[in-house]
Structure formats: structure tokens, C-alpha cells
Symmetry: D2
Subunit: 403 residues, 4 copies
């Protein structure tokens, strides 16, 4: 058995992190002795923990310490970061540190330094302005990549408790048996707060928003200045255009709810109409499109990206079919967002979640509880889920924000 002292300062108990730390050690076959534990006497006090971590051999010990670092544990004292050089583009040196989406600091040259562009599943590269998250594919020969976790401190978000912040009400289990009107009210109130302080709200939306009749409500939010960035795919734009040009969505009549026979053709007619104008923007400019969601998005001038996919028809000229470029555009649009509203699109929501820091308020509305579960499984544990009908939900949200 070898051993090593590790410490943790912070909200260890109310966050449940202490429980996770001790269980992880046992699950991984290690052992521990608590050498000191100053528990915060009152809810506002932080706790201080020092443990002696034990493992079979020094490799297991380091591996385990590595895993514990994700939960905020760090070695006693500061350890100067060790960097490895990239010798082949895209390939990180062995034992590179792979990031979480939590706030992270690295200790080097005598100082704890915050990591920029925080996101999950990246490497940390030393740049002249400090440590920075870089995706593997963007690594270049000679980049300095952080190795191991001994010089890292991670700050998992402390769960907000109910007393102080209404927004936390939803961070319970996902269930379809909740009151969506209340949820809409809470989201609206959070959006109002963010707006007041000049914060940024981004939405990621799927075509179900249009099919379920939520398009006008979302367009109203965009025009009303509630949304500062719009992410989606080809389909939401196609069906929005189809609904404006033909009154149908995937061939279903939006005023009667009935399928119109061969209405499935309408979405191709809509795409062709855009091709005839050159682009959606040109179509709007020439008066060929007079309302709807894309009209609001383009008209309001907020940045947007329609990320293509293997299942797209067309695609529309505005749709980005190069996924590398699309991921870049998404990342730029969500930068510094305080809230992301994910509306009934699993694909684009997971894509967005992958690049979102854990401290961004993330609300996911879907009629299928599995979508929210999956988002959490993929690392976006901060996402709160509202299992409801997105069309009705958006109408409720828009009416709360109107008042």
C-alpha cells in the first residue's frame, strides 16, 4: 500500500461531493483515512477535508488521485504543472488531462490560473495568456499540453438550494408528472433576471417546435429581445418556411391539424423557393417571406447557426453542412451565455451541451423524458428537464414574459 495526502475546501456536504469522494475511493478499490475534517458549522461555511488516500501501488494511487481531482480534491500544497509537447497534430501526449465542464484552475509558475474556454473533453494547453481548453483535433505540433491532474483544482458547481434561488426547483428527477405552467413561470422569472442584468440567453430548437404550434411564440421571444443566439438544424428552418408559405408543417395543416395529402411535398417546395431566391436572407429582403421564426431570427440580427445532419433535405443555403465549422459557430454563439433553452431536439442539445460549461443554466424541454436523461448521461448534469408539450410550453412562457 502506498499513500498520499489530499485536501478539499468547499461546500463538501450540502453538495453531496463528500459522499461521492469517499464512495469513489472504495469503488475503485482504494482505501482512505480521514486525517482532518472541519465541517462548516453553518450553512454558509465551507468545510475542509484532509484524507490519506491509499492504494495498492503508486500507479493505482495516481490514477485514483486523478479521478478524485474531478471532484475537487487536490494534493496537499501546490504542485507545479507538468506539460507534454504535441509531436503530431491532433494527438495529445499520453497521460494528458482531459477536462470536465466545471470551472478549473491549473497551478504553474507559482500561481493558480483559471482555464479559459472551459468545456468538457478537451486538453489544456498553455498559452501566453494562460491555460486554455483546446479540442484534440485543434492541437498542433509543439503545443504544451497539461499532463496528469496533480496541479489541477476543479470546482464542481454547488447545487443551488431552493431557499435562495427558485431556479433550482427543477434539479430533481425527471418526471412527466409535473406542473409545466409553474415551470414556465420559473423559467420566465429567471429570464427576466438575466435580461435585467444584460445577460445572454441562447436557444437550441428542433422542428417539433413548429409541428406543435410553438413557432409563433418562439418568434415572439426572439423579436421581443429575449434571445441573443439561435441554434438549430436544417429542419426547423425548413418547416418554419413551409408553415409560412403553405400553412403546413411536414404536410400537416397547421390550422386544422389534418394531414394534407401529398403535403409532404410542401417542404421540398419551400426549399426550392429559397433556392430560387438564393438564400433565406435574400428571400426576406425581396419580400418573399413575411413572418415566422426565421424571419424573426434574421430580422432581429442575432447570431444563428443551422447545423446540418445526415438526414437533411435541401439543405437550405444557410445550413452549415461542414460539422467542424458548425461546431465552431455553435461554440461562438454560446460563449458567455447565462442560460440555454433547449427545445425538443436531442441531437442539437447534446451537441450544445458538449461545449457548455457546467455553470450555465440549462433548461431542456421535451415530451420524452429519455431526452433529458440522455443529456445528463452525456455529461450535462446541470441540465434541468421539463417534460411537457413544447408547443403549449412556449405559449405559456411567452405569455408570462409578455405580462
Amino acid at each position: 500500500m502506498t499513500q498520499k495526502a489530499l485536501v478539499h475546501d468547499g461546500h463538501l456536504i450540502d453538495s453531496g461531493i463528500l459522499t461521492n469522494i469517499l464512495n469513489l475511493i472504495i469503488d475503485e478499490g482504494g482505501d482512505y483515512e480521514i486525517s482532518r475534517f472541519d465541517v462548516g458549522k453553518t450553512p454558509d461555511d465551507e468545510s475542509h477535508l484532509r484524507i490519506l488516500l491509499k492504494a495498492q501501488d503508486s500507479d493505482s494511487l495516481e490514477a485514483l488521485a486523478d479521478k478524485l481531482s474531478v471532484l475537487g480534491m487536490r494534493g496537499l500544497g501546490e504542485t507545479e504543472a507538468v506539460w507534454g509537447k504535441v509531436t503530431r497534430d491532433k494527438a495529445a501526449p499520453e497521460n494528458f488531462y482531459s477536462t470536465t465542464n466545471h470551472r478549473t484552475e491549473v497551478f504553474y509558475e507559482g500561481k493558480w490560473r483559471p482555464v479559459a474556454r472551459q468545456r468538457m473533453d478537451a486538453a489544456i494547453v498553455k498559452t501566453s495568456s494562460g491555460p486554455e481548453c483546446v479540442k484534440l483535433r485543434d492541437l498542433k505540433v509543439d503545443d504544451d499540453v497539461l499532463l496528469g491532474s496533480s496541479s489541477v483544482t476543479v470546482h464542481p458547481p454547488v447545487a443551488e438550494t431552493g431557499g435562495t434561488d427558485g431556479f433550482a426547483f427543477m434539479d430533481n428527477e425527471v418526471s412527466s408528472e409535473r406542473n409545466a405552467t409553474l415551470a414556465a413561470e420559473t423559467v420566465a422569472s429567471e429570464m427576466r433576471d438575466i435580461r435585467q442584468r444584460g445577460g445572454k440567453i441562447v436557444t437550441v430548437a428542433g422542428p417539433v417546435v413548429i409541428h406543435t404550434g410553438g413557432g409563433d411564440a418562439l418568434a415572439k421571444l426572439v423579436s421581443g429581445g429575449w434571445i441573443q443566439g439561435f441554434l438549430g438544424g436544417n429542419a426547423i428552418a425548413v418547416h418554419d418556411l413551409e408553415s409560412r408559405l403553405f400553412g403546413t408543417s411536414l404536410g400537416v395543416d397547421l390550422t386544422t391539424g389534418r394531414p394534407t395529402h401529398e403535403g409532404h411535398k410542401n417542404h421540398m417546395m419551400a426549399i426550392n423557393e429559397v433556392y430560387s431566391h438564393g438564400s433565406i436572407a435574400e428571400m426576406i429582403a425581396s419580400g418573399g417571406l413575411e413572418g415566422g421564426l426565421m424571419h424573426a431570427v434574421i430580422g432581429s440580427g442575432i447570431p444563428f447557426c443551422l447545423a446540418g445532419s445526415i438526414r437533411d433535405d435541401g439543405p437550405l443555403p444557410e445550413t452549415e453542412m461542414d460539422m467542424i465549422a458548425a461546431q465552431k459557430a455553435y461554440a461562438e454563439i454560446i460563449a458567455d451565455a447565462e442560460m440555454i433553452l433547449m427545445l425538443s431536439t436531442m441531437l442539437h442539445s447534446i451537441g450544445t451541451g458538449n461545449m457548455t460549461p457546467s455553470w450555465v443554466k440549462t433548461v431542456c424541454v421535451d415530451i420524452n423524458p429519455a431526452v433529458v436523461t440522455k443529456l445528463s448521461d452525456r455529461g450535462s448534469a446541470q441540465a434541468v428537464g421539463i417534460v411537457s408539450d413544447v408547443g403549449l410550453f412556449l405559449r405559456a412562457l411567452a405569455s408570462f414574459l409578455d405580462g
Copy 2:
């Protein structure tokens, strides 16, 4: 090969029944020759079909003719019904005719006679007032039970087409990607029509109505005279009471949406409160309950039945724990209903569907598309599904009916 002539008069083509008839014959290993087919020249005309049904032997022939009778085919000319005596309570004679939920006629003593108390899965008994559906368990020694299908004509409902009746819009595939606001509007308009002609609307509702905040809207429909019968289970009443007495539903605070710790206890407190009064009705009478859904149901004096189940707590004094009695009460309440609104309860909806004739307009609202599918699988093919959030849906419905 033996053969036999069968005929069919009615809306054979637009209903898709002709397709079903011919496919069934082939699927079952039989064969056919169409000896005459006068197709309705215009949409309003009926068609007349005569086929020569062929099968390996006379047993297969009869079995096949039997199955075709469900689709409305009958022997050429009229065949006097054959009846078998019940020799043991509850046990029908072999080869008894098992009913569908469609309008049915039996030919005997020289006349086609309509079957009373139509429901699926019953035997037909000859009574002094005519043929009648009787459940197996209600058969008594010496009852005359109809044998075979050769004297039966079944009238499957003709699908209503869109042009004439907006209500049919939903009889398409079940999908969560529809506009529930439109659906609510259509249901509201149908309810208005039924009310105007003095028709009867019954609702079957589950506790999710309360959890999702739809309780007030449903209470309003009841008080407003839109509902003439209320079916449910123990849980919807318990959670309605819990919400009135403690402001929670399954321990979740209905005004903040947050779980209140140990709020799970509240539903037992609510039950105990009723026990102390003797019953919900007595509690209302003594002023112990001043609003909510059960208050509206009991206050409005409409008939209701809370059918118990293996998972019930309490149960409430008003809950019927004998399932034989509960099925009887349900059947009486739905008698002559023109519409049944099924709100987020698979158990009670299937129970109700089992006893409902196929010509009753059945609307099933559930966030889980599988519930609607299951209802259809169990024989209630007429049920139209609205996949949405029942709380938001009821608010929309109530607001349309208010206007």
C-alpha cells in the same frame, strides 16, 4: 375445397373494409372469387359485394365466415339464429358468438333485431325484449346464448371523413408532434355540439391531472356542466384532497413545483382526514373541504365511480374496492355517452374502453404515445389520441369552453 356465398352492403371502400375482407381471407389460407361488386358511384352511395368464399373443408369455411362476420359480411339471405342453453352458470356453450364493440344485429324469428347493451367480449342472450350483450360471468343456467355468426350482421363504424366532421382530424397515427392547441379547440367544439343537443360527456381521469396542475381546469368543466359522469380511481381523489388540504400533490408543492421533504406523508394525512369525517361527502357537508375536483364532482351531483386497485392507499370511503361492483358502476355511468374524455390514466381508460361501443367518440390525452397505442390494441380502435401535457391541455380546453 368447399365454398359459400357471402354478401356485404355498406361503405366498403372508403372505410377500407373491403381491403380488410380480402386480405383476411388470404391470410387465413382461404380463397375467394368476387361474383358481383357494385361499387358506390358517388361518395354517398353504398357498395354491394358478393363473393364466393372457398376453404379446404367445411370447418375452415365456417371458421373463416365467422371471422368475416366481424367485418360486416354475412351469408346470402337470412339464417335463423341458433341458440344454445347455458348448463352451468358463467359458462357459455361451445361455439358461442363473442361480440365486438360495433353495432350488431341478429336475425331470428323472421326479423333482424338490434343487440342491446353493445360491448366487446360478451355473449348474446335472447331476452323477451330482444338480443342483449351479457358478460360471461353474468350468464345463468338456461339462458339462450347465440351460437356461431351466420345469423349476425356487424356494422363497423364508417370512418368520418374530414370534409364533414372536424372531429375526425385526429384519427391518424399517434404522434407527439402535433399541435395540441388545435386539438383542444376541436375537442371543445365537439363538446359544444354535444351539449347543445343534450348529449352526455363522461370523463375518465388519473392523478396526473392533479400533479400537472390540471385539476382546477377539470373542476371548472365539471362545475360548468360540461361533464355528465366522472370515472377515476382512488389516487386522483386522494391527490385532489391532498392538494386542497396541504397544497401538495404526491408531496410536490403545487405553487412552487418543489418536492417538500416528507411531503409524501401528506396524502396519508388527507386520507386520515376523510376517515375522521367518515367520507368525502360528509367532509364537504361539514365544511372540511371547500374546493377542488372532488368538491366539484360531488357538488354538481353527477354520478361518479372511483374504482379501486391493488396499489391504493387508504382507500377513501368512496372508493369501490370490489371490481365486479366497480365495473357495473362504470358501465352504468357511460351508458348512452356520446363522448368519453380519457385523461392520463391507462388503467381506467382501458377498463372503460372495454365496455364502450365503437360509435362513442373517445378522446385519449396522454404524454406517453404508448398509452394510446395500447388502448387501440385492446380493441378501442376508435380512440383518437392527443399526445400532450394533460395539465396544459386541460387549461387550453377550459379556456376554449369558457369563451
Copy 3:
């Protein structure tokens, strides 16, 4: 502000209970000061906590202490229990203690006494042999019912960690993206252990077991002595009989998978066949049924209960249609079970979960993740979920137990 000292001894941290305790206090508007916290130095050591609980007034203080008792906190020292008399059958005195499904002790007449017949949502009655859980409906005038929680200690189960017990692998989030073969292997190994020590395993099964082709595998488990009690409803027995008599299940041919037209009639024919014999048992005795699940259940002589419901056809003579009697029979059959296998029936699984202590290993197999979530929501948090195809799962399980 009033205050009160509370203590807790046990596995406070690895179980996450400490986190829950402190968060509950804050969520409920209370406050605390930790006066002493001896953390277990090693994984096997218990921790000892003493806090000063604070609240606005003494009512809130008592209410909060009450809620904390569910998590295992108790007043400093022992407090003699206070009992209230029942003055009306079924109605508990105000402020009665409503039980959880965790191991519970009550202090009275100078001693901590374990509560018998532990289940959730009951009152605790003092009997000559000790304290006992009694359902509200079974309370009789003059019963002594425990009031408040100050003389109660609750022992929530300590989560088993992976290192020592493979069975815990599943107590993670519910997901359909898991390897069901592994899950079957783990359940099989647990069943083998239980059998070896003479323990009892009960199954609760729904008709989907038959529809998905898992009936033979389950029958094999029963015949092989793996199952000591069988719970279900009317439908699983009807479809089992239908499959034996006609080779179909809900009219779907079990060897070809095709719906047989009008095969829906077969389940009524099966019921009628039983009625002709008097009961399933008599049918077996007279050679009218030669295999299948019910044959195995009745043949093996294990206790069983088919609990009726509002949606039942027939019902079969063996089906218990009085829900009070059915709940009683279920409770007797699960008494002392070490494991309950819940197979694709939400209704009966929740019914069983309601009466099962939290220390019974509960495995819930369903293709719908929402079923497992719902079971947890209803208080059976110990249930581990396997989201899979129950027919394929049972075949895998049977093959592991065979080897």
C-alpha cells in the same frame, strides 16, 4: 428562533444521508449549527453527528424534527413514546406517525423496540408483542397509535457499494442503454445466493411476459424452484391459458408472430373454457391444461394471488376481485421475501412496492424507463431498474440459472 439538539449515528457520509439532512433543513426554512461531528476514519467506521436545529417557532421546529427523523436523526437521549387512542375505526389521532419503508425502532417503556410488519404509509400501533405497522383502514377504536416522531429512530438502508456486492451495480440511473445480459447474469448470481441460504424470492409479473415469449422461461424458473411466491393480475393468467389452448396471446400467433384475425376472441374462449371446468385448478386436475406458467405455478404449490382490476375480462375464478382481500394476500406472500422480481407490470409492481420494506432486493424489468422511475417516485427507491425486453431477459436469466 427556538432550537433543539439532534443526533445521528451511522454511515452518514458514504450513504449521502448527511447531505440530505443538511439540505432538508435549509430547504424547509430552518437553520443548523453542527455541534459535533466525528467522522468515521475508515470506510467501516460509523460517523457521529450532533447538530443544533433551529426554527422560527416550536411548531416549525417539531415539524422539521419530524421530517429529519425519516433520515435517521433523533432527539438527544431517549424520549418515551406518546400514544393516542383511536376514537373512530380507521381514523388515526391527529399527529400520528406515518411510517416509511425503512427499519424503524420506537422507544417506550425504557427500551428501543423494533417495529414489526414494516411498510410505508402505515400507523404504528402498540401491541402486546411490540410496536407494529397497521394500515389506517385496519385501525380499531381503542388502538394505541404512536404520535409524533421524537421517540422514533429510522434506519435508511446504506447503499451497498460495488466492492462488496455485485448486486448494487444497478442502483444508478435508469437507462435503456445498458447491457441486459450482464444484468441477467448478476440477478442470476444473486438468486443463486439467496437460494443457497434458503431465502425467498417472489415474482410479480404482467401479461407482457407472455406476449413477448417469456412465459416458458418464467414457468421454468417456477418449476425449477427459484420462485417462492407468484403475484400478478387476471391478464397474465388469461393470456397464459390462451397461449396454451390456442397458441396465441391477445390474438397474436406465438409461433409466427402474426395477428390472427379475430384471434382477439381467443382470450374469451380461454376464459369460457375455465368457467366450464369451474377453475384453473380444476381444469388442470381434469387434464384440460397441460403446461404453461399457471400450470407451473399451481403445480409447484407456491402461494399465488391474481389481483383483479377494473380492466379485467372474465375474471378467472382464481382472480381476487376484492382489492382489500388482494392486498392482504399480496402482503402475506411477500412476507420475509429477500428479493422481488418485478416483470413488466407497473400496476402490480407499485402495489407490491407499497407493502415492501426497503431492505428487500427489488429488481424491476420493463422496456419503458418511465415505469422504473415511477416506482421510485412512489417510494420504492430501492428498486433497481433493468430497461430491456422482458421476454429476451427472462430467456437469458433462465439460461444462466440452468447452467
Copy 4:
């Protein structure tokens, strides 16, 4: 009212097409008179229908005739095709004919000519070798694009009836309550038939195949020569590699089923390992990967395409991130396939379905019934759904194909 004669030859009744034709006319506000209807006397005979279609004005009449053409109705006699010139790349002339996925013929220069590269949502371009489906985005200035539908005959597939082809068993409603073992057996038997006649089978697979433990079974099918083309995304390859290199899939240990803490990092390690080798192929060549699904796919030399998406990590060097290129590669790989096995990936399955002719046998296995419904909604009505656990299903399928 204007009117026009239309005819139809084919299996009008057993396919249900006649029903659809007449209902469509009424739904669209038109009217009809049946001027002649020679019904096929026996199951093998085709029927001949002539109707007089009526509408308000000639525009509505043409629009309606257009919609009817999708169902196989065409004008009396032959009408020479009318072509419009493309005047701007990508933009079809107004009133272009948008294709279905059914076999289609166009009449021009005195002959009915089959359309090549049949797929849905394309334009038809006249080329020197005959008419051909061309996607809008591939239209070039001066292409001759077919206008209107009056010179088109569409041949919707005739539903295979059960008697002659076991494969049709599944074209019933989607349900999770079916026997997946039977389904696997039927699919296996169909695969054996296709293989015997040298046909081509393509699979589209998602990462759930790996998570649920079906990777080895699928690899075995590939190595065994059952699969002639492999379609997927980045994730299935990443998790396959992760499982080979670390024994985990999304961080869940594949032998114990437990999440390994920080195992989420493993998939990034796997990607980095590939980057270090340059590509999966180079990694295999250098001995860095010795088994698993991608090893089988690349080793067997079958064509494959991993289509990227907005949510991809990495991506792997073999992943195609340009969606235009990915759609092209997919289309080439499925060309002439007789069967497509879609395994738990909605995104890639819909993408594939979009380009697949309706006569290709399409089997979709997913634990979520909504996936199959959605595939049908998007036009791939021929897809038969098996709602089951894909891991267990693949094991069953592989064992049937082994025997």
C-alpha cells in the same frame, strides 16, 4: 365544376389503395364518379378503375390529379411529359414534380420509361439514358426537369400478404409487446434467402449497439459475410474502440455493468489513441486494435461510412464531417441493397430512409417505439419495427444465423 378522367390498373383493393384514393378526393374537397371498376376476380388478378374526377376549377383539378398520381392514378391514355429548364443552379422550375420513394415511370417520346436512382424528395431530370432522380441541390442550369404529374405513373408497393412471405408479419402496428425471438428468427430467415441469391444487406447502427453488449454479435455478422455495407456515425466507432481498449462504453464497465468513475474520459483516450496512429485503419495495420466491430468492418473490406454530426467528439479520422459528402457515400453504399437493418439510431436511420426506395426491406430495431413511428412519419412507411433491446436482439439474430 370541371372534371377529368383518371385510370388505375393494379392491386387496388388488397393494398388498400382504392380506399386511399377515394378518401383523398373527398378530403381535398373534390368529388368523383366511378365510371368503371373491374375488380380482380381472384387474389392474383389486378383491378381496373376509371373515375371521373371533379373539382371546383381547373387549378384545383390539376392539383388533385397531381396528388392522386402518387397513389398510382394517371390520366386516360398517355400524356407526353413536359420539361422545364433549370435557370439557376439548385432551383427547380415552378411546378416541378417531387418524387416519392416508389417505383416511378415517366412517359415521353412515345414510351413509358422507368426512373433511375429512385428516392423520395427529388426532381426528375431527363438524361440521355432516361429519366433520373436528382436532388434539388444537384440541379444544374439547363437541366430538363419534369413538370407536373400527368405523364407519371407511380407504383406503390403492394403489401405482401402473410401467406406467401413471412417477412410481412411485422407490418402491423408498432408495439413493445411482441416476441422478439420470433422476430429475430424471421429476419434471420429473410437474410438467409437474400444471401443465397447473392443479394445485399446493409446495416445502419448506433452506439447503443455497443452499450447494450451487441457489438460482438454484430461484428460476427459482419465477419460472417452477412453484411455488405456498414453505415453509422462517429459515436458507434468511438465506443467500439473504447470498449476494446478500456473495456468500457461511455465509461460503463462492459463486464460488470458498473460505471467506472471518470470512465467518461476513456472515450477521449480512445480517440487520442487513434489520432496517434493517424486513423483506425492504420491502428489496425500496426496491431493497435485487435478485435471488435470496426476491426470486423475494416477487416472484411465492406464499404462503410461514419457520418459526423454536431454532437461528435473527435471526430475520428474516418468520420466524414461534410454532410454533403456523407449523404453521397451513404447513397452509394445502399445502392441495390435488398435489406437494410436499422439498429438503434434514429438520426442515421432517417437519413438512410430518405434515400431508400420503398421496395427495400427495411427492419428497424429500437427500444423506443417512437423511433419507428417517426421513421414512418418521415416517409419510410415500409419500415417494419421491432421494439426490443438491441443487444439481446443481435445476440438472438447471430445465434439463428450461426446454426
